[in-house]
Symmetry: C2
Subunit: 376 residues, 2 copies
Amino acid sequence: MTETFQFNLKATDGGARLGEITMPRGTIRTPAFMPVGTVGTVKAMYLDQVRDTGADIILGNTYHLMLRPGAERVARLGGLHELIRWKHPILTDSGGFQVMSLSGLRKLDEKGVTFKSHVDGSLHHMSPERSIEIQGLLGSDIQMQLDECVALPAEPKEIERAMELSLRWAERCRVAFGDQPGKAMFGIVQGGDQPELRIRSAEGLKQLDLKGYAVGGLAVGEPQDVMLKMLETTLPVLPFEKPRYLMGVGTPDDMLKSVARGIDMFDCVMPTRSGRHGLAFTRRGKVNIRNARHAEDMRPLDEESSCPAARDYSRAYLHHLVRADEALGGMLLSWNNLNYYQDLMKGIRQAIAEGRFADFYAETQEMWAKGDIDPV
Amino acid sequence: MTETFQFNLKATDGGARLGEITMPRGTIRTPAFMPVGTVGTVKAMYLDQVRDTGADIILGNTYHLMLRPGAERVARLGGLHELIRWKHPILTDSGGFQVMSLSGLRKLDEKGVTFKSHVDGSLHHMSPERSIEIQGLLGSDIQMQLDECVALPAEPKEIERAMELSLRWAERCRVAFGDQPGKAMFGIVQGGDQPELRIRSAEGLKQLDLKGYAVGGLAVGEPQDVMLKMLETTLPVLPFEKPRYLMGVGTPDDMLKSVARGIDMFDCVMPTRSGRHGLAFTRRGKVNIRNARHAEDMRPLDEESSCPAARDYSRAYLHHLVRADEALGGMLLSWNNLNYYQDLMKGIRQAIAEGRFADFYAETQEMWAKGDIDPV
């Protein structure tokens, strides 16, 4: 354990980076996948299970938590870690993204954003300072600046305005966060699909000398090659020795390709959300367990998996549970998917450590392309 | 392990009975509570957890399973035990009760019942023989006769007709079941709230010399004292040395009072269904975790419980999860409730073994009456 937030870059292999974030609540091995614990729970999972899949850190959504149970309440209860029983690091987003995507009636100006709760319709105001205050009340270990995230496609003028605003808000968040050696506040690169705007954003944030940098506003509707191009444009501008977090991404393929370009951290609801809808991620690609071909297949999803959900339960049973809309179906598939995501990260880290990331990349793509085992 | 189905009555204490059913798939300690695994899953629970709460047997619903995944399919997959990964005994109901309560368009005559699936509207016919055939295809260890269960209140004439029909169906089920030494087929006493009809039903079933007897058609809307009176009327007529199963019951109080009158087995959806709706059963009675008093209460449901859900998670967190409609809330409360039900049964069995059931009864009632711990 360490008293201060530190990022140690241990190895690189091509563009891929192997590292370690150390901080008082624990060590985060990078590249890292952070399961999303939206409202203080990783959906349909016990947090012990989440830990056992290999998660070093989980993400909490500031927007959801400020509405329920409420930031001040969480603080009175001893903070989010205490409330949800997770003693390892937690990263919180700023709330900005969900304000845009979930809440009604939002009014945005220089000061911040006013929005209506999707839960009870109540009005809330969030400034950059309030976002940091809330994340502090939650007890978050890695906090994110408030930003404005524009859905793509969008007009360059609009993207530029939001990027400039986000940059000014980053500075206010940095001031509000102050000096907290054991914690970190990350800035967020915006700029949509516009390379020059991405570069200006990254350069602006770099001058703020933050402890880490996220790339935001991607995986919001654009094709994968646009996302990757933005990474190629942005990452060289960011300080090499600081962690880089690609927000809200993504599929296993998105992650593999982003690691190849220098990303260290990911979060995404995909493993749990897809799991609840009957989609399993495996070494051999995606498996839609609702498909009739699985109805009488007593083989497991992947007999070589390290996860009981993948190894000990038959496809026929999973198919039945998902078709009958039974909770256990979502529980098992979320577990399988989170485990697969963590196994992928573990494989990536090992490969970088051994200088064979390119081989690992090719082998992994080959297995995905092979597709699922033949029907019975 | 034994080759044959046997019931050994080990002790009595007043009307309460301590026993053991031994059969090839395992031993069932009685009085026993059987968690309901409706469609091949005890809702929101891993079956390992169900086992760990102390369950010796679970129940499967023939109606649900014949519709999904289908009896013939389950048989092709090696039976229900294999499919759902539960190697201990399973009891299946006959399907009759759900046909009456869930399906549309039912037509009942001497031959059986025709009904429309609530899942896809398809038409199905179930005769006493087909019910036993389905239960056999599922691989059920304890099978139930097809019966007609009348909702109370009802006209005595109607109750009598259904009781007589159920008695004729019991005989047909006995013939269809045949000679299966390692398994059992139970008859079901009907007769609504009419003592004479209950007695006639019990006498008729007794003559069939079945391996066990259930009391059905109770907990269908009548007051508790009517239910208990029916038990007092019925049980003395049934053979003393055979197990007695009170179907679909009930609350902890219902069970305690029914054990006092000689019931050996129970099943009920209450622990899981209530759990999903925020109701927790504890040594100190029912706790509605949605209640605002729990919002900032960091104490567990019951720090002395044997269940992690009751002991390790705060009321504040459970309250939050239930209010936010998060799956983990139902998972934890179902776990707590099933564990409480099994702990109650364990306490009952110990008390009977030690000849202090009356004291246990009084102490348990006293703790329930005391109510929950004071608010913080």
